[in-house]
């Protein structure tokens, strides 16, 4: 059983977004989701540096460094897009106007606590927070997209976060390279699980109790949901 590739995880998240939603994609891996949005889904992307309806990456040579996303990469704007200042960009977030924010994370707890801004290492490096915390508090739904375990194999899905929190009780869904989870009042519920992976095997790499949804699905290698 192979875990989902980053690209196929991005495909899975993209195809799970509600039609017509206003969506913010966090810096890093979530940005990949933009490349896999189904054309007919009508999702409109928002970026906190002041743009709504982001388009795809520009062709090489056509980059405009006054037209960038929150990760500071050149992008384009779709027909019907808009520019605005940062204050309005954050009003869109805190005011609950963004339907879904897809964020990366270091840890998520089974109460929906999110830790995604600091690795907690005290090597003296300056901390940085950016807009992650504003998104985490303000978007209507917070989805997390991350690898299920750390590079050294430690679970990222935990009973209680050990790293500094970004926000308390905000995460609604988690998409990992092994499964899709919902955060319910009673903890993590497995909505979909990678083809060929047992619930016991998934539980073994998860540091909080899992229960299987009544109508759970299988995730194929290509990131498509089966039945």
């Amino acid at each position: 059983m192979k875990p989902l590739s980053r690209e196929n995880l991005a495909r899975l998240v993209a195809s799970s977004l509600p039609a017509g939603a206003f969506v913010n994609l966090g810096i890093g891996v979530p940005t990949l989701v933009a490349d896999y949005l189904p054309q007919d889904l009508g999702v409109m992307l928002h970026s906190e540096n002041g743009i709504l309806n982001l388009g795809p990456k520009p062709e090489p040579g056509l980059e405009d460094y006054d037209l960038i996303n929150a990760g500071k990469s050149p992008i384009t704007i779709n027909p019907g897009g808009a520019f605005f200042d940062s204050s309005m960009a954050f009003a869109m977030m805190r005011g609950g106007h963004i339907d879904v924010a897809v964020l990366g994370a270091f840890e998520v707890s089974c109460q929906g606590d999110l830790a995604n801004w600091s690795t907690g290492r005290s090597d003296g490096s300056p901390p940085a927070i950016g807009g992650a915390i504003d998104l985490a508090v303000g978007a209507r739904q917070i989805w997390v997209m991350m690898e299920h375990v750390t590079k050294s194999g430690a679970p990222r899905l935990v009973e209680r976060c050990s790293l500094p929190l970004t926000a308390v009780g905000v995460v609604r869904r988690v998409f990992t390279n092994y499964c899709v989870l919902s955060v319910s009042p009673s903890g993590f519920v497995v909505d979909a699980i990678k083809e060929g992976l047992s619930l016991d095997a998934l539980q073994a790499i998860t540091a909080a109790p899992l229960c299987l949804a009544d109508k759970w699905c299988v995730i194929r290698d290509d990131g498509q949901i089966q039945g």
């Binding site: 006054d66 520019f83 200042d85 300056p126 927070i129 504003d134 508090v137």
Partner: protein, 220 residues
């Protein structure tokens, strides 16, 4: 008739002294007033408090100020990939006030709008609540966030008219429109200066009432 056009970057920062609080527009490289940043460096002022989203990532951006050791403190949200800042921070030579990005811009907005602060849910239950007043409104907890103001705002626009009305370029608008409201002296380097009436009043983002000096950098 009002005319805020000045002759070059050095004239634009006249009066910026040691110990000043300086807002610098831009998000990454978008909208960064690079000519003004160089002028401040050339002027030899020091001991600055800087309010900006980032802390420079190399070249003629805020990292040049850190390399020259003219910054005492920075208030920002994302000092990542900031090598010069990072070195001074680790050496304890510069103070950092880390503010979530949306809170940063709203604190500046409050400063410019004459407000005593605002209540934000951002940071409740995290280390960002330390030292702030927690206030409950309608059953939800908020943190009291206080305004930010500055002596100078150094900004970059696409164009200005001679009165000081400003339009920006795409995502280069970012924090600048709000910073323009919150500093004693607001300076904007622009690509082009036009006559009053040449900018569509519907498109003006920063009305001239906020702007004190504009200039076109010699290279533009």
């Amino acid at each position: 008739m009002r005319n805020v056009v000045v002759d070059g970057a050095d004239a634009a920062i006249a009066g910026l002294r040691d110990g000043a609080i300086v807002m610098v527009g831009g998000f990454g490289g978008a909208g960064l007033p690079r000519r003004l940043i160089r002028a401040v460096l050339d002027a030899g002022v020091r001991d600055l408090t800087v309010i900006s989203n980032n802390a420079g990532s190399g070249g003629m951006d805020l990292s040049a100020w850190f390399e020259a050791k003219i910054v005492r403190k920075i208030v920002c949200s994302y000092p990542r990939s900031a090598v010069a800042f990072g070195e001074q921070y680790r050496a304890g030579q510069v103070e950092l006030e880390l503010v979530p990005q949306g809170t940063l811009v709203e604190r500046i907005r409050a400063g410019g709008a004459g407000l005593g602060g605002f209540l934000s849910p951002v940071g409740v239950g995290t280390e960002f609540e330390v030292g702030k007043r927690l206030i409950e409104v309608g059953g939800r907890n908020y943190l009291l966030e206080v305004p930010l103001k500055a002596d100078f705002a150094l900004l970059r626009g696409r164009a200005s008219d001679t009165l000081g009305n400003i339009v920006y370029n795409k995502t280069a608008r970012n924090h600048q429109a709000v910073m323009a409201t919150a500093a004693e002296t607001v300076v904007v380097e622009v690509g082009q200066i036009v006559e009053p009436g040449a900018l569509d009043p519907e498109s003006i983002v920063t009305p001239c009432i906020f702007v004190d000096r504009v200039f076109v950098p010699e290279s533009a």
